[in-house]
């Protein structure tokens, strides 16, 4: 176990420059501190899980990295370059793809418009997205608000995958989805992770077990544990119960 003010990579690949390094990050919403002192690093490959009970600051940490909520201190580096002083759109333009909790598709816009809006690169990776989510091609002209939750998640993932990003921040992609769809989303994430590192907030521990290489565990707005192997962390019943409030066999963090 480590409680580190300085970033440590979850997979232990300390010799490599992490793609995303967060150090002593503090953030607040309406004056209330929601991220107290968060330091971690996301290695340049694979999926790193950001875990913790409900309300410990996982989503807030991701929003603070993106500048979507007020940062009160700390640094964020993308590929070694500081990005914490930049406005959100500039941070994203540096190469961060964001898949928000609750998907946040533009309900009144069509699927095609949602995707077009997300295209930043000169040659967006439409073929990749179409091969991963063929259903979206069929529904290109359908208003995104009329899609099922699973389909909306596909739109949200597709928006992040269209560009050649350096890292993806994916927040609870399986939340509220049927088991079959959860499996499809997990498959898409596994496929995406072959081309881009991902920081994944996920409450479904069987998905974490299946996808994640390393894991970072938050509690009360702070990093309380960094695991080089997500699987070995999930196998440790004592740690899992203490930090996530559930048993080691699948389930969801409380």
């Amino acid at each position: 176990m480590s409680t580190a003010p300085e970033p440590t990579t979850a997979t232990g690949a300390d010799t490599e420059v992490p793609v995303l390094a967060v150090s002593r990050l503090r953030a607040s919403i309406d004056g209330q501190q929601v991220v107290e002192d968060v330091s971690f690093a996301v290695p340049a490959m694979g999926i790193t899980a950001l875990l913790g009970r409900n309300g410990v600051g996982k989503t807030s940490s991701i929003k603070a990295i993106l500048g979507l909520i007020r940062r009160d201190g700390g640094t964020v580096e993308l590929g070694g370059e500081p990005i914490h002083g930049l406005p959100t759109h500039r941070i994203v333009q540096r190469g961060i793809g964001y898949v928000p909790e609750d998907r946040e598709v533009f309900a009144g816009l069509s699927v095609a418009e949602n995707l077009r809006l997300a295209e930043r690169d000169d040659s967006p990776r439409r073929e990749l997205v179409e091969s991963l989510f063929p259903d979206l091609v069929k529904r290109a002209h359908q208003a995104a608000g009329t899609l099922s939750g699973g389909q909306q998640q596909m739109v949200s993932l597709a928006r992040a995958l269209l560009n050649d990003n350096r890292v993806l921040l994916v927040d609870e992609p399986t939340k509220g989805l049927a088991p079959k769809i959860v499996s499809e989303v997990a498959e898409a994430l596994a496929e995406a992770a072959t081309t881009v590192p991902i920081l994944l907030v996920e409450q479904n521990l069987s998905v974490v077990r299946r996808l994640a290489a390393g894991a970072i565990i938050l509690s009360d707005g702070k990093v309380v544990h960094t695991a080089e192997s997500a699987e070995s962390f999930l196998d440790d019943e004592d740690l899992v119960t203490r930090h996530l409030g559930v048993g080691t066999e699948g389930g969801r963090a409380s």
């Binding site: 993106l66 979507l68 406005p87 959100t88 759109h89 994203v92 333009q93 964001y98 928000p100 946040e104 533009f106 309900a107 009144g108 816009l109 418009e113 077009r116 809006l117 997300a118 930043r120 928006r159 560009n163």
Partner: protein
């Protein structure tokens, strides 16, 4: 029958003026969360400069009238863009301060206009045809109403095409739904802010010139009196909804005309309508339940 037709067309004309003011108000609030109290100043300046331009060319000529429309539109767009860039943008995300600065600008603008043009209304003329009437089912309908309605329809169609067919239109539609998610896609939504102010100001400037022909005068107070009803229209239609602004403009304009003619309390009825809509559909006729803020 002829009275009903006349009231209907004058109501539609008034609704057209309301739409030209409220469309911009609604888009600005929808995208930025700013209730723009300076919108009346855009309208008034458009009307005053438009009237002066027409006077130079010849108030009774079509060239003067058409040029006054163009100049009114440009002046409204310019003042609105400057307002956004100089006063609103430095207060990004500080909504209360943004609203207060528009209130201050409105007060200062009226004082400035009164200093330049005086406090008395100036009665104006347009081309002779606009002062004549056309017989519709026995109703002698003033011709200027047709032009006002036509231009409002063209502005509505133009705005819809812009919002549906262009990338900036798409950004504005998305931003009205969820501004923070637009920025999280790497888009500088502030450019869209300037654009909606510019479009709203242009429509208001155009509305100012047409309102001065509708009422028959220009005055530094023209914008202030129209702004109150434009706000009501915007709330009834649903803040942020362009179709809502169009429907509510017509509803309020026609209702006001009929009630004024038959019972003489058209303004009161509009307030009652506002109360009924707020009690039964708080988001307005075509509004969304909540407007996302970043």
């Amino acid at each position: 029958m002829s009275t009903v037709v006349l009231l209907l067309v004058t109501g539609l004309g008034l609704g057209a003026v309301y739409f030209l003011v409220s469309s911009g108000l609604s888009l600005i609030y929808g995208l930025m969360g700013v209730l723009n109290f300076a919108h009346g100043a855009f309208l008034t300046l458009g009307a005053l400069i438009g009237w002066q331009t027409a006077s130079l060319i010849g108030a009774g000529t079509w060239a003067g009238f058409l040029l006054s429309l163009l100049i009114g539109c440009l002046v409204g767009a310019l003042l609105a863009s400057l307002t956004e860039f100089v006063l609103i943008r430095p207060l990004y995300e500080r909504h209360i301060e943004q609203v207060l600065v528009t209130v201050g600008l409105n007060l200062a603008a009226i004082a400035l206009f009164e200093g330049i043009w005086g406090t008395d209304p100036v009665y104006i003329d347009g081309p002779a045809w606009m002062g004549m009437t056309t017989d519709i089912l026995g109703a002698q309908t003033p011709n200027h109403l047709f032009i006002t309605i036509l231009i409002a329809v063209l502005v509505l169609v133009g705005m819809v095409v812009f919002l549906k067919k262009t990338r900036y239109g798409m950004i504005i539609r998305a931003g009205v739904e969820n501004r923070s998610m637009v920025t999280a896609l790497g888009i500088d939504v502030r450019r869209a802010f300037t654009l909606v102010f510019m479009i709203g100001g242009a429509a208001a400037g155009l509305g100012g010139v047409l309102a001065s022909h509708y009422f028959g005068y220009v005055s530094p107070m023209l914008g202030g009196s129209l702004l109150i009803f434009a706000f009501i229209v915007t709330v009834i239609g649903g803040l942020g909804s362009l179709p809502g602004a169009a429907v509510a403009s017509l509803l309020v304009g026609v209702l006001q005309q009929f009630t004024n003619y038959y019972w003489g309390f058209g303004d009161f009825v509009v307030i009652i309508l506002l109360a009924v809509v707020l009690l039964t559909r708080p988001a307005g006729l075509l509004g969304r339940k909540a407007v996302a803020t970043a």
